[in-house]
Assembly symmetry: C2
Amino acid sequence: MTPELKDLFDFLRFPSVSTDSRHADDVRACAGWLIEKLNGMGLQATLHETAKHPIVVAKSNHLPGRRTVLIYGHYDVQPVDPLHLWTTPPFEPDIRDGKIWARGSADNKGQMLAHVLGVEKTLREKGELPVNLTFLFEGEEEIGSPNLLPFLRENAELLKCDVIAISDTGMVGPGVPTFTYGLRGISCCEVTLHGPKGDLHSGLFGGAVANPAAGIARLISSLHEPNGRVAIDGFYEDVRPLEAWEHEMWAKIPGVTDAQFLHFTGSPALYGEPGYSSAERTWARPTAEVNGIGGGYQGEGSKTVLPAEAFAKLSFRLVPDQEPADIMEKVRQHLEWNCPPGLTMEISVGHDGKPYATDPNSSFGQAAQNALRKAFGSDPVLIREGGSIPIVQSFRSVLGVDTLLLGLALADSQVHAPDENFPIENFEAGIRLSQLLLEELAG
Amino acid sequence: MTPELKDLFDFLRFPSVSTDSRHADDVRACAGWLIEKLNGMGLQATLHETAKHPIVVAKSNHLPGRRTVLIYGHYDVQPVDPLHLWTTPPFEPDIRDGKIWARGSADNKGQMLAHVLGVEKTLREKGELPVNLTFLFEGEEEIGSPNLLPFLRENAELLKCDVIAISDTGMVGPGVPTFTYGLRGISCCEVTLHGPKGDLHSGLFGGAVANPAAGIARLISSLHEPNGRVAIDGFYEDVRPLEAWEHEMWAKIPGVTDAQFLHFTGSPALYGEPGYSSAERTWARPTAEVNGIGGGYQGEGSKTVLPAEAFAKLSFRLVPDQEPADIMEKVRQHLEWNCPPGLTMEISVGHDGKPYATDPNSSFGQAAQNALRKAFGSDPVLIREGGSIPIVQSFRSVLGVDTLLLGLALADSQVHAPDENFPIENFEAGIRLSQLLLEELAG
């Protein structure tokens, strides 16, 4: 095992699940490991406390007259359930088929550590970097980065830079360098329907009062038309139509055909908003998704109960120029309007993030495309992506700079799901890319 | 504490949850306790093995020329979750406000033990019983009595009798003797929708494939019209219309007004099939209930996942003359017809039981009404009940006899729910009732 892979394995072993308060100490221990790694390679790393999980900042020796590049990443990970669907334990990294298998291997530990190790390599080979470098690593990305925006505002001087780079997106196929110029935003909420004061016998009371589990089904089914279009009033109002060149370029990308979407997902069939390809549906069209639904008896066998409550966890993926607060207000109105009779509703609004789009042919955009071309030996493709990185929007509003998205994950990397994985070759390309990117951005 | 209450507490401490295989030994231990109790009071008790949980039969000294009465009960109980909603632990009986609080206190251990203790008292006071008595106690009622019907068929001679009595239903109010002449039947199934081969990132793939959690919501919402009527084709076809005298008598029962249904359930409002009172909706009209719904992330916080599958546990309460097998076939056709696109469906059919109705004014019916009148000191009311006791139908078909339903639970006894309870006065009335019933049935 290379020293780089050993570092990654050490990093992956921390169960830094930010959403679960039982893992708070693991998140902190993971930040501590990073601090030690960054200081050991000659950067000045500092731990910054927040209301929840700490932020790590590390700087090279900044010299006047050079460009300043900030590289962002996150060291927290998604929960691992359903645990029984993992082939090997999520926090015991394993190598099979040329890939590293672990929670966070692709999202985002593998990608962010590639940048760290690229910088370490340049420092070892050349003694210095071609730019002023700042690393910014947070532990709350998977819960919507609640403390990053205040941190940016309070530390704008410390984080001052000319451009930001992030590897937390995907490649359209193995070995195909990919530059992402747009991201979907997000709005989340949880809706709970309350019925009887406690669970009831469905024989003695069934028929006389509304059933919250049936109610949540009726309420959630109101979110879509049967053809897959979102049925919330005004939901598509501010959606920027797909441009002709996007439609044409995306249709030619071999890695993102409808057939490949079908293969990657393993769904019985594709299904979505009529009139769009799968790439267009996920990159340029908004959605309403049910991330979780629950109520009543969940165990083995049957239990003839009429449950007291039922819930649904919802997230809405947004595209330019939808506004998260505006969409959440429309969602709330829709839910209130459609609340089934005989039940009371509670809505808990969660995190959000604006959608993002930038010009792929700006000077920094060209530098990024050059670095990708050299690292992979072929021309990069230009895409948007369906995921959300809300902090990209924050970087623009607080630090006034654009973000270059140079993703290294693959469609079958299983991010947010069991058996998450990251190819060793992508990890190694990421280390090369990091070195080349700083050279290209130096101008 | 009286010796009778002490016996009940001992009986309630067994966590005899029949649906949960981890409790198989507890169910067996509970049967063992019963055998010992019944033998100790002078009956001949025997344990009969089945494919799952044992059946207990106990007989008095049977003499020729007397009527033979079989009293049925069940010593298994429902699961206890959600456990955190119990005020005191479900298997540590407690007395508060003149009631016994424990899982099974009302359904059915408290009611069945009242009969055992009534027989014990008569034997102690008089040395013999006025009838030939057979107790039949099973441990699988809460899972649909899968082994009782074969047992009845194989032991028809052992169980030969003139009439059967069961206390496993309810009273319309405290101190109001209640004779139940009808029960709803039941058909159960679980439906699972399968989508992607594993959980997906809802950003990367959301919009391109069908979401099983959204699909189960759409499928389940198709079961009802918005006004609460079941929307399954032909569902009401064989429903026997409510008779005028039933409508009139039930409207006069003080304990079962709409206001009281609202109070007992604690629901924000009543809701159900238009054109019927709450008593009529629960006693004489069929239902489609969601006992459980689930899919995707169930934990704390949010997880932006597109789940691989989602399920719903359904039960249908049936009234004369609906046939469970016919209804389940209609349900299956409805589900298949309404399966959302892009998903595959799996239906697992559960237990069922026919609805029941008998003549409350037969000679045995009159005897039961007399016993109730003497035990409680007032005229009994005649009702149907919304719950299901499928074995009543089996008794009729295999042993050729009718069943007298002399319930002792109250509407707020919380059967099948947290904080199940049984009033001490009902327990004591049950002991008196058991003694009087055997006298009346002796003719």
